[in-house]
Subunit: 554 residues, 2 copies
């Protein structure tokens, strides 16, 4: 019975670096539960997000389309009302598609009004929530300042925290993401210096266990329905502060040295220079900042690992472990001081590469369990993977990714993508102004093949890394004449991608095939000289008098 149920548990972390897991090579972090997932599934070792920033990356995960195609190119740029999402594709297959946690979705309120879509209706809620039925939407960023709240939605989590005795207007900020100093003063989790302190909430009251329990609540509520649950943790995204005991689980001694070189600061690419110059990059270029923040980051990852254990126990207890496709991934990474950078945004692996583990419960996947797959994977591959798992035909004219099942089932496809693409729209950043680039042109592209990583930013020189002899991406070959042929080759692949058909989403290749020549069967006769030339099956009776009079010749 339970084996027939085809559920999907789509777990996303926020800002989790691909290499901050034991199973992807972190020397000190212990992540036994995530490692156990990798042992049961396939770990994709070359997976990239479509854009190294929360909102745009997620819109690609959820639409199965490149940022260039869906247009939601930065945080809070609304996703156009007409874009199809995972929920649209899966609901059509009878799968309830729900959300617990973060999406960073900004609704196209103007578009909804233009089309008369009531935001309170079921359709309206789905359009506004990126196709999900929100069991609990919480983007986990509840800051407020002189201009008001960043996120106007009041999270259920705040009310729940108050029920647990954490008082105040915004316990998310003042308890879950804050500490106290020795005099009882409030220390904000937004400030890096405070990362080494324990958060003011008990571990069981912090966001990760809370959302984990909400996921289990959803699973119970869903009952015997097939579902796809997007469980989307805010952590280890900033504010970077962990509750006890996680805050002290790791120390500065467990922090790998920053991957950077002095040479990187010498005549860097203009866009890279701008990002090195940001406050957050200068902060993470300091060893004391890394020593204070990264152990907390690691503690938050450890807490997520514990949550994965709880989840797996929950699935097992409900008899669902053997019938659920499980994905563990992140929306993008975090530089954490590598390459003299903080945050994400650019395309070095710490930022653009993502952890990706897929556990397919199908017997067809038994042969690949515990293996590592080095195929270039993109985050847009998940939507078609889910559609395929749910028994649907993948609408390739809409979904730009490719199902991962061939890799999961040990039947590698004859042809796979030659390059992974990632994009970044820096129009909202100080770099655009500093470089004098208009918002519409402020975009950069990553093109990564099996050996090289090429970066093109409009109007600027390229960047190039040869990952075979420079796996840490420390030597930019973007201006090295010896690498001109590689740059040209990769630029041509970018251009081929840019010329792809991406908006012809209302008709499939198969439908086109079926329609060919159809108009002649509907009386549209083009290029015929006379009645004699018209094929008998489309020659109307009423024209036969003239044909008879003329005879068959011209």
């Amino acid at each position: 019975m339970s084996r027939d149920r085809r559920n999907i548990l789509f777990v996303m972390c926020d800002q989790l670096r691909w290499d901050y897991l034991a199973c992807t090579g972190h020397p000190r972090l212990r992540t036994p539960n995530i490692d156990a997932l990798a042992a049961r599934g396939v770990l994709f070792s070359r997976a990239y997000c479509q854009s190294p920033i929360c909102g745009s990356s997620r819109m690609s995960f959820y639409t199965g389309r490149y940022v260039d195609s869906h247009g939601a190119a930065w945080n809070n740029f609304p996703l156009k009302v007409g874009e199809l999402t995972l929920g649209d594709h899966l609901r059509a297959l009878g799968v309830r598609t729900a959300l617990v946690g973060k999406t960073h979705m900004a609704a196209d309120v103007e578009g909804m009004a233009r089309l008369g879509i009531d935001p309170g209706s079921q359709i309206g809620v789905r359009v506004a929530e990126c196709g999900f039925d929100p069991f609990e939407r919480d983007d986990g960023l509840h800051g407020a300042g002189p201009a008001g709240k960043y996120d106007p939605r009041e999270p259920r989590y705040n009310a729940w925290l108050r029920e647990q005795g954490y008082d105040g207007e915004n316990p998310w900020e003042d308890w879950a993401n804050a500490a106290l100093d020795e005099d009882g003063n409030l220390l904000s989790g937004w400030l890096l210096r405070n990362s080494s302190r324990p958060a003011r909430v008990k571990a069981e009251h912090s966001e990760t266990p809370y959302m984990t329990q909400r996921a289990l609540d959803f699973i119970d509520a869903a009952g015997s329905e097939s579902w796809c649950l997007h469980l989307s943790y805010i952590k280890p995204h900033w504010p970077c502060i962990a509750p006890a005991p996680y805050h002290a689980m790791y120390s500065a001694a467990d922090v790998p040295p920053a991957v950077r070189s002095r040479a990187e600061r010498h005549d860097p690419h203009p866009l890279y220079r701008q990002f090195m110059d940001l406050r957050v990059s200068r902060a993470f270029s300091r060893d004391d900042v890394r020593a204070a923040v990264i152990p907390a980051y690691m503690g938050l990852v450890a807490q997520i690992d514990d949550a994965i254990g709880v989840l797996m126990d929950g699935l097992r207890a409900r008899g669902l472990l053997e019938s659920t496709l499980i994905v563990f991934t992140s929306d993008h990474g975090d530089y954490l001081g590598d390459h003299w950078l903080g945050e994400k945004d650019l395309f070095h692996d710490p930022s653009a590469k993502i952890p990706l583990i897929v556990v397919d419960p199908s017997p067809a996947a038994d042969g690949t369990r515990g293996t590592v797959c080095a195929a270039l994977a993109e985050s847009i591959d998940l939507a078609p993977t889910f559609v395929d798992f749910a028994g649907g035909a993948v609408p390739a004219h809409i979904l730009e990714g490719r199902p991962l099942q061939p890799w999961l089932h040990g039947r590698p496809p004859v042809r796979w993508r030659e390059v992974a693409i990632s994009e970044y729209d820096y129009s909202m950043t100080p770099a655009a102004e500093a470089l004098g680039v208009a918002p519409i042109d402020a975009r950069a592209f990553m093109v990564r093949d099996n050996r090289y990583k090429f970066v093109h930013a409009e109007g600027l020189r390229p960047m190039l890394f040869d990952l075979a002899d420079d796996p840490n991406e420390l030597v930019d070959r973007g201006a090295d004449p010896a690498y001109a042929p590689q740059r040209e080759r990769l630029f041509a692949l970018l251009n081929r991608w840019a010329r792809r058909q991406s908006q012809r989403t209302t008709i499939s290749d198969a439908q086109i095939g079926l329609r060919r020549g159809g108009s002649q069967q509907q009386g549209i006769l083009i290029g015929y000289w006379d009645e004699a030339e018209v094929p008998a099956d489309v020659l109307p009776e009423k024209w036969r008098g003239a044909l008879a009079r003329r005879g068959p010749g011209p």
Copy 2:
């Protein structure tokens, strides 16, 4: 009073070649009323449609966006429900936007259902009618065959014809687009041999005068409202048959010789070869076909010219002539046997170039009346031109064309487009199958600068014409080594265009500028080490205790 009314009369012909007007150089055709428009306005001598096929071209006219952007890449490929149209932009400015005639719009019925849009509601009708309020929608193609009707909508014109005494189930086909032979047998206007006969309807009952009267009916119905009326004639599109006296106004002696050379048939570009091989191309390569059909085509143009006279008289009589922006154009051209081709589809000027006359009633345009403008114009320029005329700010993040007012007002812009782009999706044609190209890849692009025309079709060699020494496009330089630098330059411009930001339509550059740095004012504080670093204007009061204890230093 009437000068304050800002109306727009947007007249489109179907399949009217740019050079089949006296004012654009036809040696025999008389088009005094259209010439008079040119004398009152600006004639754009290098205007291109966005795609040389009805439906896609029109979707670009109506959305102000490239085919690559809106995705309705061929006839009856539905326009996505979320795409904004002329009607959306103009209605927001208080302009009633209506249709009389053809659009070739295919509604995104699935998208509408997904979003809960009732096709019978006002919004639903507009979505289904490409943003227009249909005063009279009639695509003018009412063929029927074994698979049913090409266009399921029954035209009002058929009922009207019956009222005039033309009986039968489909008087559009059997009267307006048919003739009789000497024995009284029905001769179909679909068949080229019959083009020289007079249609069975009186001239005043044929489609062009009927739609002209309907336009005047709309203008009367609109009363004192501001309006944009799209009057969209089906003619001189096939079925190519004209009523008396237009059927005999021109003869074979008035038909210019076909522009073609034997050399074109030697080793042609593979896509060109496929189109030369079509039935309609082989037909129009015959001189007897041209002699039979083109005089009728010219008669249909003459009839449109008379209709323009009626329209101008109608505007004058209503006091509207001096306050109405008038556009006269076509959706694309017709090869008529040039280059051994019939129909349209490819990018030679007879197909991709369009007639374009714009009469701006503003005093600012007085200095340019009767002039010819050789700037590269694209059909997507009309939507922003209309928005500008209606007093709106052009939403450049949505509309990809540029307003023509700088040219109309004699203030040429410092920077204008370097190339005009046109696109063609040949996935529905036999060429795709013959060349073994998958539907998704079956696309070609034209890049035309002030001297050259470059054509790129995915997977095939390029085409290139040097219009300075080969204005008739008879010598394809696509494989000539001497022209490699030009091909590379134009291909790079195509690629730059392909990499443009086209889907970020929910936020403008201006809004991006205003939002920059905004999240910090909403409490999102990134990269600050401690309270002392946080700017005073965003430092919450509740953190000041910790700051006071620590002091301002780190």
